[in-house]
């Protein structure tokens, strides 16, 4: 009888400890839901984000869903606090597949970075600036990826009164290769280290507010543009997050974009603006950027 009672008490104590430890552990625990193939650039960024959050004391479980349809199914069925790394280009691509996440201020957690776009030409091109480059040709062929908006290029062509041939590649890396190999005259891509630091290309203009990575803004060279600014955003969306958890994650992500070696280096390598500097960021910001791509 005494033994049974002791065993019962021990079991109850054990169960209590498990629940206590579980509730303690889950205070800073979140699922990071990915929806792209393992090994892709976007998937790797998820791993970097995971590292950054773990530095802030979070327990991060990567949940790989493989595609956006599975992601939505999983988020609908799961009750775990979950976050998803997203981008405006990703949103547009998933919209075409019919499995985009709805971008609302409630679902939006925090910005990670904002990258601008650049137009680059081969390093041996004699043009010293954008206007000189365009005026030296009857027609300009421009490579871009399928998630890079065309309207900035056509806007430029209209203002400079030059026919622009749009050559679309599968991915910005292929577009960059196309420029190097002489398929096209220029490339219009998101600004990354590949564009900023390559000795094979020179970037004549970028669509940001100020000179970045030594590249002058397009609006300082060409006036009358309808769309002188172009941003591409990386941000975190959330699901099943309480207000407190959402605030905690947002604070830590913004802090990580400043202090985490891996995350801040990754953002800096793209010459992007880190999340903590993006003070006026909301759902409308993202939807406006996405509308440009559509």
């Amino acid at each position: 009888m005494k033994l049974t009672k002791s065993i019962r008490n021990a079991v109850l104590l054990g169960i209590a400890c498990v629940f206590a430890s579980a509730s303690f552990a889950s205070e800073k625990e979140v699922d990071l839901v990915t929806f792209t193939k393992e090994g892709g650039n976007f998937f790797n960024e998820n791993i970097i984000l995971k590292e950054a959050l773990e530095e802030k004391g979070w327990k991060v479980n990567i949940v790989s869903t493989g595609n956006c349809v599975n992601k939505l199914k999983h988020l609908a069925q799961s009750s775990n606090p979950s976050i998803v790394l997203y981008a405006d280009g990703t949103y547009v691509a998933r919209k075409k597949l019919g499995c985009e996440m709805q971008i609302t201020d409630q679902a939006l957690v925090a910005p990670v970075s904002a990258g601008t776009r650049v137009m680059c030409v081969r390093a041996d091109d004699p043009a010293k600036n954008l206007v000189e480059f365009f005026t030296s040709r009857d027609e300009v062929s421009v490579a871009r990826s399928n998630t890079t908006p065309l309207l900035y290029v056509t806007d430029l062509g209209n203002v400079l009164n030059k026919k622009v041939k749009d050559v679309v590649y599968n991915g910005s890396g292929n577009a960059f290769k196309g420029l190097l190999a002489g398929d096209v005259d220029a490339v219009f891509n998101g600004l990354t280290k590949r564009e900023a630091k390559s000795d094979k290309v020179k970037c004549l203009a970028q669509w940001g507010k100020t000179t970045t990575a030594g590249i002058a803004t397009v609006q300082s060279q060409v006036s009358g543009l309808e769309h002188p600014l172009s941003w591409s955003y990386r941000f975190i969306m959330g699901a099943n997050l309480s207000d407190d958890t959402k605030s905690m994650i947002a604070k830590d992500i913004l802090d990580a974009t400043k202090t985490s070696d891996t995350l801040s280096n990754y953002i800096n390598s793209a010459s992007a603006v880190p999340g903590y500097e993006l003070t006026e960021f909301n759902a409308k910001t993202v939807l406006d950027a996405a509308a440009m791509i559509e």
Binding site: G40, I48, N67, S198
Partner: protein, 461 residues
């Protein structure tokens, strides 16, 4: 001095880890370099630029050596580029020649690596311009179309059937949302709303297992093997194995040449060069009356494996010379490098001497992998003690489990399984045709469409 010694030791440890993990990953079907990099990603973040590249290089080389082992013994591709090893290596194994299959593949791989290295060093002053021009869309489209024609005319004797199979492969590969056409293909009769998984296309592994691996295994297992063979331990000396390889040296060197040229075709270079080298050698031997389908052909296998390893090295060059990755695994490597806030290019990697260090380790890794293959050479035929039927059944079970697991990791286990089961009867019915044409059509189709579209836009609009 002690700092230099410490650094050298660290680099060696990294190379050793890459070699061991890469070999294990290559042995396990469906794992491979991409999965290995993803699994080790957090640990690789702490490495230096050189160490990251060394890990990648050693894991990639070891994976290629190991991939042909599982293909030979089990008939299961360890890497997607070991499809010829599935056909010829496994057939040789069933015919009690598994020891020569493994030694030939291993020596060929090592020779391919060294020959390609010598070639690269010889053209180093011009290599950046060569690489840049190679990426030209006209060049890429020509190579892809040339490769397609070669595939159709090289395999077997029925080019009409091969054309149909290749087209079937392209059609299978086109299912889903097409990024270049920017719409869903075949919407009229593929119910994407009912079956949303199809929006993302058919998964590669179930396709090659159903349409290539299983049909090849069935044909190989049908082949009647002499029952008088009693010896399972390899009694041949190292010299005899070297002589056996030397009889295939012409095919090996041609494989190395093909691997060096085609290895830089983005995303498909290794698969393409392996299969083209295999196809050319096989065709040549068929014309000489020396190729017997289903018995296993060592020269064809050696050509493929040599091309395989040559392409593996050449594929790395665009990344380390101009910072452009041309495969998924290289893209992972580049994302790792990006976290170090350094740039990888000729100036930072070659001019600083890091490339020379990589070359020395590359030579060493190939030697070590060759040595690692030797115990397998001695004892591989012991697996023949089991009946072929049992090996086939075990392999089939392993394949089904693997492909379900691969899908399960992305919450698509059932989808992978259903794709496999739907395509399997087709693979069975086509087992006496060259189903490799389907696989290559599946892989190349998308690249051909993209390249053709770009060609049209550049020249005709």
């Amino acid at each position: 001095m002690s700092d230099v010694t410490t650094l050298l030791s660290l680099d060696s440890i990294v190379v050793a880890c890459g070699l061991i993990l890469g070999y294990i990953a290559g042995l396990i079907p469906g794992v491979g370099l991409i999965v290995l990099l993803v699994l080790t990603y957090p640990f690789l973040l702490d490495l230096s630029l050189l160490q990251m590249v060394l890990f990648y290089m050693s894991a990639g080389v070891a994976g290629q050596f190991a991939g042909s082992v599982s293909a030979t013994i089990l008939g299961v591709p360890g890497e997607t580029s070991s499809l010829p090893a599935v056909k010829e290596g496994h057939a040789l194994f069933i015919n009690r020649q598994g020891n020569f299959a493994i030694s030939g593949a291993a020596i060929g791989s090592a020779v391919g690596a060294f020959v390609t290295l010598a070639f690269v060093l010889a053209v180093m002053p011009y290599i950046i311009d060569l690489i840049v021009n190679y990426f030209n869309n006209n060049v890429q489209l020509t190579l892809l179309l040339f490769a397609s024609v070669i595939v159709i005319f090289l395999y077997g004797n029925d080019w009409a059937m091969n054309t149909a199979l290749f087209s079937f492969g392209i059609w299978l590969g086109s299912i889903g949302y097409n990024q270049h056409l920017m719409r869903f293909t075949q919407e009229a009769w593929i119910p994407y709303d009912l079956l949303p998984d199809l929006k993302f296309g058919l998964p590669f592994f179930p396709v090659i297992v159903a349409l290539y691996v299983i049909p090849v295994m069935i044909v190989a297992t049908d082949f009647k093997v002499s029952q008088h063979f009693k010896t399972y331990t390899d009694l041949s000396t190292v010299v005899e194995h070297l002589i056996s390889y030397c009889k295939t040296i012409k095919q090996s060197l041609s494989g190395s040449f093909i691997g060096s040229i085609l290895g830089m075709v983005p995303h498909v270079g290794v698969v393409l060069s392996t299969n083209i080298a295999y196809g050319i050698t096989r065709r040549s031997r068929e014309k000489q009356g020396q190729y017997i389908n289903g018995k296993g052909d060592l020269p064809s296998l050696v050509a493929a494996e040599t091309a395989n390893n040559s392409a593996q090295f050449v594929q790395l060059l665009p990344l380390i010379l101009i910072g452009i990755p041309i495969s998924t695994s290289e893209a992972i490597l580049l994302s790792l490098i990006d976290t170090k806030n350094v740039v990888i290019n000729h100036t930072n990697f070659v001019a600083t001497g890091l490339f020379d260090t990589m070359v020395w380790y590359f030579i060493m890794v190939n030697f070590v992998c060759l040595m690692l293959s030797w115990p397998l050479v001695k004892y591989v035929n012991w697996f023949n003690k089991f009946s072929m039927r049992n090996i086939f059944l075990v392999t089939l079970a392993l394949l089904v489990i693997l492909l379900f697991y691969m899908g399960y990791r992305e919450m698509s286990g059932v989808y992978y399984l259903v794709t496999f089961l739907v395509l399997l009867p087709i693979g069975y019915l086509l087992r006496h045709t060259e189903t490799i044409c389907i696989v290559l059509g599946f892989i190349l189709g998308d690249k051909i469409i993209e390249s053709a579209k770009i060609f049209y836009v550049i020249w005709f609009t």
